[in-house]
Symmetry: C2
């Protein structure tokens, strides 16, 4: 199975766990059988590999997510990086070109496109496999997944099929309706549009060629901004006559708000949390290393991270966005391909962070114009390179770096350090990168 | 006015703002006219000084609070330190002896004893002044303050006066009753026992001499454990025939739970906090440097500190104690006479803290057996002494100290530093103090 996962932008609806560098699909909140926690993207990836061990997975995303995707899924996953954020049509077109030219997928091979964050069970991926077969057979140019609705939702687009058959031609598409219209659509047999597309690779490559003249993936990458900023639904699906929708009646949840996300949690808390016996329908997600105590609450979600603390009535939590937009925030925590960092202290002329480097990983070789830095290694072993001079380091070692000096650290075992940044104009933008000289 | 303020123990009912080293009376939560915040002890001290600029204030407390009291009230306040925690009779007896022998108060002078944490207005201290006059006149040996009850509380002791006069003889004392009994007492004209005592100094010194033979304050301090571990009410007030109670009808609140404490707050939040318009009767006290966002909550208190996060229905918050008892916690933040510290990171073999030293203050000169330390100065100027070697330091300087080495830092201006502790057995008890060698 060739599958393109669309990994969307930095949602703020799950603040403080999602932020400008961490999207909701990376929040590790779902308990696995071995007792650890996995994120939506890890869950979906695991489910795909379980359904089809040979599945070729490509994630279509922006540059900002690449590091986190490698952190959570390892280095084997394919990533089609969008040079800029546009919409789903350009993202799918570029990923299709990536499949053809980088992954060597043949033009006649079937491809599935699916969002990275549906909360589903294995039967969903079995359904995708079936769609793949339909696409391979070529009974139609484009197949969609229609989710059987469980309530008249205002959050989804609707597809009205021509028949009640398992696979049907499409009568019409309907945009997100109000509740009354949604109920009416459902009476007429409508299905939720699951955002899944199955087609032969050539089909989408042709659509892209209709818009832009390009030779291969790298050429399309360079011409990305020429592709219309439009959704795949508008650009392709709604115009396609030779299209079918396949029904799916299994579990399908969109975990876009705290309300829906907590419904999918197996336990009422993640992290250091205590509730007294008068709490009802309370969920606590605590990423901090201090306890959260909840007493006498009903229908409340509490989420605490290095970015901030949310305490919200579950229903109300869906209205969070404008409030988070107003918070003027520094990124306090991020997971990267090489490890993670956490801001511990912010002063006018200093910033103290904790850095954890995974074994075998290193920082970029870089310098800063306007700040000095001090590293105190607190765990692990590795090597530093400072202005070309290499030295071994271990817990307890201190490295001081003046502004302008080039530096990096390479972790041999997992390595932790406290970094104190000192200067008048401390900014993440004050960073020059260099090729490593060793 | 000679006034002894009884500063009680480490209440856990206001966790996470109160803890083993910070009692509720030190939480800076009350907005003052100049826009800053003051604690209960600061508020009471300011009110006393406003009522009587020459008041001689002595705080009876334990060793653990001395540093914080000086931090909040300065160096001028008298402190009678209890060698061990017993009860109010020994505490008052020792403080009386401190007044006589250290402060030079004459045996015939009147003295007022009062809790450090009633939330009251200036009329309360005017009432204390009046009690002082009664005590000076000698119309009785002991005067109490009887608060006119506003509801049949189960939390207070009751005093039944013989008459409804402003000042009356006492008919009988009643221990904390249930609500029905309380209502019955109130029908019989009972007053709440405000825990205030006025007497001539000699009166209490004699009571102490009845129990223990001592020559002066220092002798009584040494013999402190010989004093009965009993309350002043039991030991003295309830046995005294020549006693009067004075009525007080002004505001008097006991801010012992989050429910009552938040009622006394002038604003709904302290610190970085946002509430949406659907929040009703919500209070947020946020000591962290990240935002708290509350949505759709009713009658809830949120309190966040470096120790942890409480989210509680206000009524339920009075049942907090057993839950806090179960939390196994390291002290993550403390204010001291010399400044403050905050734990930023805890690892198996390292601990990183931020230390802020007030200008002119210094740490003890000390060493550790089992850990190395690194200081990175992030703001201010001062001097370090390491194994007798003195050197000037400023922001950006790094000082490394091996286990066993003696060290201190003296702040010239306000000085901030990041301290990284490194070793296998990091403990607050691993500290040897030395006299400074300079």
């Amino acid at each position: 199975m060739n599958i393109i996962l669309l990994s969307g932008g930095s949602g703020k609806r799950l603040w403080p766990l999602s932020n400008d560098v961490r999207s909701k699909q990376f929040i590790q909140i779902f308990r696995t059988k071995d007792g650890s926690y996995e994120s939506m993207v890890q869950r979906v990836y695991r489910q795909i590999k379980k359904t089809d061990a040979d599945a070729k997975v490509t994630i279509a995303t922006s540059k900002t997510q690449v590091s986190e995707i490698h952190n959570q899924l390892g280095e084997d996953v394919g990533i089609s990086v969008e040079p800029s954020r546009r919409d789903t049509f350009p993202a799918i077109a570029l990923a299709a070109s990536y499949l053809a030219d980088v992954q060597g997928v043949e033009p006649e091979e079937p491809v599935i496109v699916c969002p990275v964050d549906p909360y589903v069970e294995d039967d969903y991926f079995e359904a995708l496999k079936e769609m793949e077969k339909f696409a391979a057979k070529g009974g139609a140019d484009l197949f969609l997944l229609g989710i059987e609705p469980t309530y008249p939702s205002e959050k989804y687009g609707y597809i009205i099929p021509e028949s009640a058959d398992r696979v049907s031609a499409v009568s019409t598409f309907k945009e997100k309706p109000n509740a009354d219209m949604a109920a009416e659509y459902i009476r007429r047999g409508a299905l939720w549009n699951g955002g899944v597309f199955a087609f032969r690779l050539k089909y989408v490559l042709d659509k892209a060629h209709e818009q832009v003249d390009f030779t291969d993936y790298h050429d399309l990458f360079a011409k990305y901004d020429l592709l219309s900023c439009i959704s795949f639904d508008y650009a392709v699906a709604e115009k396609e006559k030779n299209i079918r929708v396949m029904r799916f009646a299994g579990q399908w949840k969109d975990l876009g708000t705290w309300n829906t996300l907590t419904e999918a949690m197996e336990e009422n808390s993640v992290g250091d949390a205590t509730m007294n016996e008068t709490c009802k329908n309370v969920h606590i997600i605590n990423e901090l290393n201090v306890p959260v105590l909840a007493m006498g609450l009903h229908d409340v979600v509490i989420s605490a991270s290095p970015e901030g603390i949310l305490v919200s009535d579950k229903e109300q939590s869906s209205y969070i966005k404008p409030f988070v937009d107003k918070l003027d925030q520094q990124v306090m925590f991020a997971q990267k391909s090489w490890g993670s960092f956490r801001v511990m202290d912010v002063e006018e002329e200093s910033l103290t962070i904790k850095v954890t480097l995974k074994a075998g990983h290193n920082m970029n070789y870089h310098s800063h114009k306007n700040r000095d830095e001090v590293w105190v290694v607190t765990a692990g072993t590795g090597r530093t390179i400072v202005d070309g001079m290499e030295q071994e380091v271990k817990a307890g070692d201190v490295i001081t770096m003046q502004a302008g000096c080039r530096h990096t650290i390479i972790a041999e075992s997992e390595l932790k350090l406290v970094e104190v940044q000192l200067g008048r104009e401390i900014s993440v933008h004050d960073k020059q990168k260099y090729a490593l000289e060793y």
